[in-house]
């Protein structure tokens, strides 16, 4: 089946990259005097009792949910060729303000949660919207403005936390917002675990997992099946061809950034609604940047992002057991970093291979960065055109014939 072989081809590069990254990481571990096999053993050891094992899985899942959302937010913009580096700032702003809003109001449970979610999405969208407006009206590169807005967001969030939204006692070592009342807590899925006959762990499995799954499905459908998604992907593949086809480039930038920001706004909510119930100085940071790595690893595809998020969550969970085993937990960071590097390289290599195959008329697999955004990706012109700009000629033919492309009747896969 063509689809199966395509899937296989598109999985090959990231899988290979992960393997290569593990080999490199192992070498680094050896260099710093850590036994890589011992480290691996600790990382995959989920505990002895069923309760410990289920807890470990819950920890991984709870960590994967925000990573998945972050990857999704980055990927939406990536697919259009926009680099939303500002996811970090967008989710911090969204989380602090929605935490403040959630604590300030009191509503029946489902409505209370809904209000918090809507506020978070709106704030994320507005914060990303600033980037879009700057780009459309002033031509400011979204990379620069979103990075700068990250700093502003961090500063603003600190100000809000210590000033107007402060809920903790003066003198407390950890500053937090006021706690959201219980009607604004997202129910956990531990009941489901029980129904599956698994041990009920002390940790709560975030109910927000379901929201993330729904968002993932919606984004996948939006990108792959709708007219809007087609316009978005077309712009990512070739902005000039998209605008010639009738896509309004400026409007597209704005809607895409709003959408990306809205999803980014959700990133902090699993923790906020599931366990912390406050935003504070100890709130998980760096998810926005990890999201970029997750999106890259998942090749901007919702299913791939889910896998990548689980992998990163698995690595994250290992940090504590590693420390307990006397191994520096920065091993995890090293592995994550090398994975990202290896994936960027692998994507680019497989993109080139696919393109070369395509150009010489061989059966075609989708290029690694068919979304035209990851890694160095391609410019607006999509790299060197196979038969180039051609001259003004007499009645006969133009163009240099890149032979081998003359009859692309390559074998079908």
């Amino acid at each position: 089946m063509r689809a199966v072989s395509r899937l296989g081809q598109s999985l090959l590069a990231p899988a290979l990259a992960v393997v290569i990254a593990l080999v490199i990481s192992a070498a680094v571990m050896l260099a710093i005097g850590v036994d890589p096999f011992r480290a691996l053993e600790v990382m995959v050891d989920f505990g002895d009792t069923p309760s410990q094992q289920v807890t470990a899985i819950v920890v991984v899942l709870n960590r994967a949910v925000p990573l998945f959302l972050a990857g999704l937010a980055v990927a939406i913009a990536f697919r259009m060729g926009l680099f939303n580096i500002g996811v970090e700032g967008q989710y911090r702003m969204a989380t602090v303000l929605s935490a403040g809003a959630g604590a300030a109001i009191s509503l029946p449970a489902p409505l209370h949660i809904l209000v918090i979610v809507v506020v978070a999405m709106l704030v994320g969208a507005v914060w990303a919207g600033i980037v879009a407006v700057l780009k459309v009206t002033r031509g400011v590169s979204e990379v620069i403005s979103s990075i700068m807005l990250n700093f502003i967001a961090l500063g603003l969030a600190s100000f809000l936390l210590t000033g107007p939204l402060r809920g903790s006692e003066p003198g407390a070592s950890i500053i937090t917002t006021k706690e959201i009342p219980e009607s604004g807590w997202f129910p956990s899925l531990n009941g489901v675990l029980g129904a599956l006959g698994l041990a009920n762990p002390p940790r709560q499995l975030y109910g927000f997992l379901l929201v993330a799954v729904v968002v993932g499905v919606l984004v996948a459908v939006l990108l792959q099946r709708t007219r809007f998604g087609f316009d978005l992907r077309a712009t990512g593949l070739s902005a000039s061809a998209a605008s010639a086809s009738g896509v309004d480039a400026k409007r597209m930038v704005i809607t895409t950034m709003l959408l990306s920001g809205a999803v980014a706004g959700l990133i902090g909510l699993p923790d906020l609604l599931g366990s912390n119930h406050t935003y504070g100085t100890e709130f998980t940071s760096g998810l926005g940047f990890l999201g970029i790595a997750v999106a890259l690893l998942g090749r901007n595809n919702p299913v791939g992002i889910a896998v990548a998020a689980l992998l990163f969550a698995f690595l994250d969970r290992a940090a504590v057991p590693l420390q307990i085993a006397g191994i520096p937990s920065s091993v995890v960071t090293i592995i994550q970093g090398t994975i990202v590097l290896a994936v960027v390289v692998a994507n680019e290599v497989s993109r080139r291979i696919a393109r070369r195959q395509a150009e010489s008329g061989v059966a075609v697999a989708p290029p690694a960065t068919g979304d035209g955004s990851t890694g160095g990706g391609q410019g607006p012109d999509g790299g060197p055109p196979p038969d180039g700009p051609t001259g003004t000629g007499p009645a006969l033919t133009n163009a240099s014939g890149a032979a081998g492309r003359t009859s692309p009747t390559g074998s079908t896969s």
Partner: protein
């Protein structure tokens, strides 16, 4: 032949296969030292594959390469360079933010270092071949012709005695072509050998000492440029009588489809790119726009499509003033668009063919169903287009990049025709396509015209313009400077109007 001196380059029975296709078969090529040898052939005939073989970019499956009578085997371009074969690519490979000196030396630092010796050598090359290069100029400040001379200098700096020039004139304006030919004469005088790849037969006849013709991957003969006419060469290339773009009887009706009134588009400097263009296209009429490239045709097309804002004037489609409409509204309103540069504006190269079928028609059946893309219908319609318009590809899932230029263009033409537009903007519709696809596209345009479609045809191919158009206008510096009857005008007269040499017929704008 019993030449005493061995041939500079001789290829014997070169065969190169790619999966599913034989790109070169039994190629025989004999190039004497100190001559300009042209290789001509239509698009996709295998010229570039052959040159890549000679330059060591891939190994031939069969056959021998002989340089100065000795057999050589090239594993990489580095081997070819070491053996004195250099290539000037069609797409320049220069770093804009480096100087001429730095560009030439880059990658060949071992030859003469990067200091005074290198500079002396470059000046020497520039002087002895009259390239006129200044080592310290930034490449970004150079024009296309100068950049090409930098590329030639790069090759000479690396010690090449045989130069391969891949479509060197494709990017040049006529003046620069003459300069290039002057440089080639210098190279020849110094005893260097030049292999010149082209499809422009007039140029080939002007510059070459001998010609080898390639057709369908194999050499079909050699010709003497002094005794062979362009038409004979062309027929040798195609292997058949040439198709002609001649249209049948006039089908022009009274109803105007497109009216431009004083359309003006801002240019880069103070001079507008399009300057007060007023014209009318009627149903069943082909309006040809002639002009040397860069005289506002591309900007005018963009303005009609809504891709570039108007500084003044109005665009009227049928009876609607569409000046303020978006590109999408214009396309939905019945304008079809065959863009000048299909890779830039017409296709998503890394997307499958069926998505390229959807492109530009995202909002219309069969591509769209409500707010969703109808995959099934789009794929089915792509299959229909591939059948009806003879697009040769494995299937609708094939990536567009895998298709030859001609097949890509046929898909674009088929896609635009399938929406049954009222008005078709065809910018260089047969550029870079092979002769077969060219005649198919001409037939399609003729049929569409007969059905009452209005067509704006922008082309640099004068025979195509004269043959297909009902009315012919000439653009010069953004303005319409002449309106001609294609039945009366000769390519020479048209050329005179295009360069501004003839100005006696004042613009009788319709």
């Amino acid at each position: 032949m019993t030449d005493s001196a061995p041939l500079a380059v001789e290829l014997r029975g070169i065969t190169k296969r790619f999966p599913g296709v034989v790109a070169n078969k039994d190629i025989e090529l004999r190039v004497a030292r100190g001559e300009v040898h042209a290789i001509v052939g239509e698009n996709g005939a295998g010229k570039s594959t052959l040159m890549k073989t000679l330059y060591g970019m891939h190994r031939p499956d069969e056959g021998q390469i002989l340089l100065d009578g000795r057999e050589v085997v090239f594993k990489s371009p580095a081997d070819a360079i070491a053996a004195g074969v250099g290539m000037v690519h069609q797409h320049f490979m220069l770093a804009d933010n480096l100087t001429v000196l730095e560009n030439v030396v880059l990658g060949a630092e071992k030859a003469h270092g990067i200091g005074a010796a290198a500079r002396a050598r470059i000046v020497e090359i520039s002087d002895s071949y009259a390239l006129g290069l200044e080592p310290d100029t930034l490449v970004e400040d150079l024009g296309v012709g100068d950049r090409q001379r930098v590329e030639i200098a790069k090759v000479l700096y690396r010690g090449a005695t045989t130069l391969i020039l891949d479509e060197p004139t494709a990017v040049l304006v006529p003046q620069e072509v003459d300069e290039l030919f002057g440089n080639l004469a210098e190279l020849k005088r110094e005893g260097l050998t030049v292999i010149f790849i082209s499809h422009k037969l007039d140029e080939v006849r002007k510059v070459a000492d001998s010609i080898t013709v390639i057709r369908r991957g194999t050499t079909v003969g050699t010709a003497d440029p002094r005794t062979t006419t362009a038409k004979q060469l062309a027929e040798l290339m195609v292997g058949a009588e040439l198709p002609t773009p001649q249209t049948r009887a006039s089908t022009v009706r009274d109803t105007p489809v497109l009216q431009l009134r004083g359309v003006t588009v801002a240019g880069q400097g103070t001079r507008p790119a399009v300057d007060g263009v007023t014209l009318t296209v009627r149903e069943g009429e082909v309006l040809g726009i002639a002009g040397v490239e860069g005289n506002g045709q591309a900007e005018l097309v963009d303005a009609i499509m809504g891709l570039r804002p108007l500084a003044a004037g109005t665009v009227v489609l049928g009876s609607d003033d569409i000046s303020a409409w978006t590109t999408r509204a214009r396309r939905e309103g019945g304008i079809g668009f065959i863009p000048e540069d299909r890779h830039r504006q017409g296709m998503l190269l890394d997307a499958p063919l069926w998505e390229n079928r959807v492109l530009g028609h995202q909002t219309e059946a069969p591509a769209a169903k409500g707010l969703f893309i109808d995959r099934k219908a789009s794929i089915a319609d792509t299959e229909r287009i591939m059948r009806e318009y003879d697009v040769r590809a494995p299937g609708p899932d094939t990536l567009a990049v895998a298709l030859s230029g001609g097949n890509q263009q046929k898909l674009i033409v088929g896609r635009e025709m399938s929406a049954h537009p009222r008005l078709l903007i065809a910018a260089h519709p047969t550029r870079g396509v092979d002769v077969g696809a060219q005649s198919v596209i001409w037939e399609l345009l003729k049929d569409a015209r007969a059905e009452g479609m209005g067509i704006v045809l922008v082309s640099a191919d004068l025979d195509e313009l004269i043959g297909l158009s009902d009315t012919l206008v000439v653009m010069l510096r953004g303005a319409v400077v002449a309106t001609l009857d294609p039945g009366q005008v000769t390519p020479e007269q048209l050329g005179g109007h295009m360069t501004g040499a003839v100005t006696d017929t004042p613009a009788g704008a319709a």
